[in-house]
């Protein structure tokens, strides 16, 4: 009996070995620059700027929560083999240092896409909160810079510059694509401004963690969340939830937003307590397998968000 089990284990191990070997990246097509990006927005920017001259892949597997991610040895090998690695910023991806240290490749260009972007701290995000604000939010800096589209444009430019550095021959190509993309971002920005100017409700109640600081600041919205801090780990206290419930009732908020990829339990609890309805609001750290297959892009996701915001906040 135990011999059978032993044989079975060996068979399983052999199968696993074969499938994982089979899953190795197809050799990158000759001539294309291989780029690995950490989060989804960067992935989308890079593939739009680089077009068919680049081979972009996402480090974060689809569906995995960004803040919980830790690079595996295979990831480090992949990065080493690539031409470029783009990340958001040191606070968003604290594990970048680990990777930088273990990189031996001389051809790899590591790009901090947040260069030139001003980070805002929690204190700035909650100017009219009471003294307890700092206590509650810890006074840290918000790393979710891409949700302010002017920042996104800066990031696009940084990436474009990096691509030109690596591949100066196609400079014009990259510049044109970047400009096009930034135009689309500007268009997105105006849409947001227009729509969100005329809303009956100004408060967005978010069942996820606090990622929308930059967006809130830019469009004059008020975001409240049950979570303290910027990562989804910290558990909301019952008092936080109760206060949120009270606020929702007080402000007459009709819709509660839930975060992508995470079980929407907190949002559901709030909804059940207040009879508010649920709507998704994606911060685009990462996308689901299904969305990736459908070809979702950063701008399309943000447009969807706008639609949901319009409905939930009762705008024009």
């Amino acid at each position: 009996m135990s011999k059978v089990i032993l044989l079975l284990c060996i068979a399983v191990m052999v199968c696993v070995l074969f499938t994982s070997c089979g899953k190795k990246e197809k050799a990158s097509s000759e001539g294309k620059m291989t780029i690995i990006t950490s989060l989804f927005p960067l992935y989308d920017f890079a593939r739009n700027i680089g077009g068919d001259k680049v081979d972009v892949s996402l480090l974060l597997p689809p569906g995995v929560e960004a803040h919980a991610f830790e690079p595996r040895p295979a990831d480090i090998v992949r990065i080493n083999r690539a031409d470029m690695f783009i990340y958001t910023g040191k606070i968003m991806e604290p594990w970048v240092d680990e990777i930088v240290k273990s990189v031996t490749s001389s051809k790899l260009l590591i790009v901090d896409s947040s260069e030139g972007v001003r980070l805002i701290s929690q204190l700035e995000e909650f100017p009219d909160e009471d003294e307890h604000a700092e206590h509650r939010h810890g006074g840290a800096e918000d790393p979710h810079i891409w949700l302010d589209f002017s920042n996104a444009q800066k990031m696009v430019n940084n990436i474009c510059e990096a691509m030109i550095k690596k591949d100066p021959q196609n400079k014009d190509f990259y510049l044109k694509n970047a400009a096009d993309y930034n135009d689309r971002l500007s268009e997105l920005d105006s849409e947001y401004k227009t729509v969100l100017a005329g809303c009956k409700q100004h408060t967005v109640v978010y069942g996820g963690h606090f990622a929308f600081g930059y967006m809130a600041k830019r469009y004059g919205m008020k975001f409240i969340s049950a979570y303290r801090g910027f990562t989804p780990d910290a558990e909301p206290t019952p008092r936080n939830l109760a206060e949120l419930v009270d606020k929702i009732k007080q402000l007459g908020v009709g819709y509660i937003y839930y975060e992508e990829l995470i079980s929407p339990k907190v949002a559901e609890t709030l909804s059940e307590e207040t009879d508010a309805m649920l709507l998704p609001l994606s911060s685009a750290h990462n996308v689901s397998k299904a969305d990736l297959a459908e070809g979702a892009g950063f701008i399309s996701i943000m447009k969807k968000n706008l639609g949901n915001l319009r409905m939930g906040l009762d705008c024009q």
Partner: protein, 275 residues
């Protein structure tokens, strides 16, 4: 002072929490005495692996989790019988296997539509109506089983050989105990999270054992401690603006220390009686 009770989410936390508290603390008495205390943690790791299987097969994670975790609990039992290992080692082996399988499966499948972890880890403050019912039904079923097999379980836990010699089917009863534990871990974990389930399996029983006066009293005391910790924990966490799960566990620990101190200084302080 009592305004917190008006919120539905608090009410649900109290109801589901209390049922799960009694359930876990009762099973916990047997598990602790059988040196299987960490089975809660161990099976949680297996649940991670089995949820990965479920998502791979595109089925509801709970449908794969329950049978796989139940099988793993039987595996732990088998290891203690055949491989001559104590419970803690057997748990460690199965637990490592569970989490490793999960990690590999996640990797092979190339990603999912949602984050695995968030589906595993419930929180006592975000319990749905369905989950309240699940907690009640689960508790009733398990407690009923424990009641029906109370004497057999007690006999096996005290002295398994003697139990066998009185014609008790020891293997069957042990299997029932670990499978009930597996069921509890999977279902209760989704409701209140693994941190709380694991703690409720170990702490109330350990505290009750400090000042036990009889076996029956031990089980009842463990249940009472667990329920008290849930109710007071939710209440204090609200008043002091702290996370509820952690508060409940700290209260459990405080009670344990109090009972330990009491037993050491008051109960055992008597001079030895002549034989």
């Amino acid at each position: 002072m009592f305004e917190l009770f008006q919120y539905h989410f608090i009410q649900k936390a109290l109801i589901a929490g209390c049922f799960i508290a009694v359930l876990c603390s009762t099973l916990g008495v047997f598990l602790v005495l059988k040196r299987l205390s960490l089975i809660g943690d161990g099976l949680a790791h297996v649940t991670f692996g089995s949820v990965a299987v479920g998502l791979l097969l595109h089925s509801q994670p709970i449908y794969t989790a329950v049978p796989l975790v139940a099988l793993s609990s039987l595996g732990i039992l088998k290891l203690t019988e055949r491989a001559r290992l104590y419970g803690d080692t057997a748990i460690g082996i199965v637990s490592s296997l569970g989490i490793a399988s999960g990690v590999i499966l996640v990797s092979i499948s190339g990603g999912y539509n949602v984050d695995l972890f968030s589906y595993l880890f419930g929180s006592i403050l975000s319990i749905s109506n369905t989950e309240v019912i699940t907690s009640i039904v689960l508790s009733v079923i398990v407690m009923l089983m424990v009641l029906l097999f109370y004497n057999e379980l007690a006999s096996i836990t005290f002295d398994e050989e003697m139990a066998k010699m009185s014609g008790i089917k020891t293997r069957r009863i042990n299997e029932i105990l670990v499978v009930l534990t597996a069921l509890t871990v999977v279902l209760a974990m989704k409701v209140v999270g693994i941190m709380l389930v694991s703690a409720l399996l170990i702490l109330p029983a350990s505290a009750a054992l400090q000042t036990a006066k009889s076996f029956k009293a031990t089980i009842i005391t463990a249940g009472a401690i667990a329920v008290f910790s849930v109710i007071s924990g939710i209440w204090i966490s609200f008043a002091a603006n702290l996370p509820s799960g952690g508060t409940i566990i700290i209260i459990n620990f405080i009670i344990f220390m109090l009972m330990f101190g009491y037993s050491k200084n008051v109960l055992r302080a008597k001079p030895e009686e002549p034989h």
